[in-house]
Symmetry: C2
Amino acid sequence: MRDVSIIGIGQTKVGEHWDKSLRQLATEAILAALSEARLERADALYVGNMLSGKISGQEHIAASIADFGGLRGIEAVKVEAAESSGAAALRLGYMAVASGLMDTVIVCGVEKMSDAVSSATASAALALAVDSDYEALHGLSLAALNALLMRRYMHEYGVKREDLSPFTVNAHRNAAGNPYAMFPRPVTTEAFMKAPMIADPVSLMDSAPLADGAAAVVLCPGDRARQFSAGAVRIAASAVATDSLAIHDRRDPLFLEGAYLSAQRAYQQAEVGSADMDLFEVHDAFTITAALSLEACGFAQRGQGVRLAQEGEIAMDGRIPICTMGGLKARGNPVGATGVYQIVELVEQLRGQAGLNQVKGARLGMAQSIGGTGGTVITHILEAP
Amino acid sequence: MRDVSIIGIGQTKVGEHWDKSLRQLATEAILAALSEARLERADALYVGNMLSGKISGQEHIAASIADFGGLRGIEAVKVEAAESSGAAALRLGYMAVASGLMDTVIVCGVEKMSDAVSSATASAALALAVDSDYEALHGLSLAALNALLMRRYMHEYGVKREDLSPFTVNAHRNAAGNPYAMFPRPVTTEAFMKAPMIADPVSLMDSAPLADGAAAVVLCPGDRARQFSAGAVRIAASAVATDSLAIHDRRDPLFLEGAYLSAQRAYQQAEVGSADMDLFEVHDAFTITAALSLEACGFAQRGQGVRLAQEGEIAMDGRIPICTMGGLKARGNPVGATGVYQIVELVEQLRGQAGLNQVKGARLGMAQSIGGTGGTVITHILEAP
């Protein structure tokens, strides 16, 4: 099995791109990543996307994007694992290079949420990630399910709504330094508390905004990486784990077993532990998700994820900086693209190119992408050049 | 890179399964394949499916199927490449084992077309495979696009409608020996000529029936295959190629460049040529697709694919038997599952277990799965134990 490195990154600004199609967004990110790697083509393209069939009226997008991006003929396949689709595409690209079958691979995550005719349509589309028989059919949207989890967490651990605000405040503070972020401006705890409810106790400020965007990375074998780039970042671990889709089928709704398994597999592959991480790109689709992910991955004891945030340990100079470029909450959440955005941001950090948001001396970073309420969890660990 | 073998196969009958959900169908096929391989679990599950989001109101099905099949926690991801989704999942499973990352992998293709509320819904869903901006939006369904191709073929090569009937007659003759086929009965040329039109000149008898079904295979490294199964079949080649989605963007509409590239890559990997194949599972979603695929893969000269069928060379005792268990036309076409059904059937042939339909002395076989009108083409070559 070969070592795999990231030799190029590309991303579009996250936001509402009314003037661009899904394949245009993907092409922009891909060409930027190829250009950084000083390549014109690659051996394969793996696309992460969740909702183009439902929202944009187009499946079969990997071949379509390959053609649009000037890569006609190339091996191209789409991967879907709900909101973790982008991370799943990276997993696939990693296997392709590790196997020796491919020398250069493009991984692209893309989503075009603004093609949805209304926010109700977008919300219904997102509910395709939860159990259709046991949850969605009964009106449980993704936000509603996270409201149940948050309410239960508040009850079990004596936590108040405002105790979760540090996740949002931290994400927005960091987004201010990210030119690709959807909401690059700070928010206050007061603004957090005044935000309209989506599904009590989940408010607009607990919930990451759906958006359009595309991000891409180029992979090659580790021993050839320096040919292409002085700043090649090594993929030290890549791991996927699953759990039941329906929350009621889980042993303990407040423990993300998929996140635990996925992180443990990644730690084992990289031969490291949570204490070795210099930063962690968390899947903060909801504030409660961030807390549960920190706990499942070993950064906090059960029920202490929120305390970690309250004590400032998730800030840029804290014990484990998270959402260093704004996270899902403030960079924006282009669903199936988000997993690749996390990787692009991690690469910027490990190259020392994160500008105002640079985590000093970052050598080892982790990104975790979560599908549904934890049905699929994908963890990657990257290592500085 | 490690050699990869197939050590277990499973399939449900193809048809309208009103009483079973998508994950039930998938679970049946997976448990059958695991049982054949004498395994209870595997390291990963890759699911090929095209339309569950559109038709069944459920994405994120890989985790859902893993849970339903008693495999909770396992790595599980869905792969989509239109009608070639099942073959794309096999490609992914092949890479996972070849890389050394996984020792045992389940590949499952599944589709539940009967969840569509009407045949118009099913047809609209299938149109997600063609270019939405340039084709579907203008009313060009998959059948309509194939009608354009068939009409052009008839014009260019002086072929009549009835000249394509041998493809259908052959497929139905073979399906009679397949207990899993949807239409296991012979049809006559007269019946072919009397069939109602779908999109002139494509009639019901040129067009494979949409259906429900699931098929699965279990993979392991070649050097460990005999531990699990005396009848392990080797994957000698696995190749994906793409073309533009829209037909008008191709250099020549009557030459499937994706099929050509995909086959060439497979021949190169297996170090064989078309003349070495003992049988070929063709993607006969439409009779014209079968003709174009035979030509692009080197079994017939340009314009001679139809003649090959007319001269009986595609029959069980012909030069290159195709659709040996009924093909898409008579076994039925559960879209995203079809690519895995082809593989299951090829394994039966290469193990000498194809019963009445056994191709005598079959040692080397090929399967080709096509997405859209040729936007993605995936070719696998398998070798007898």
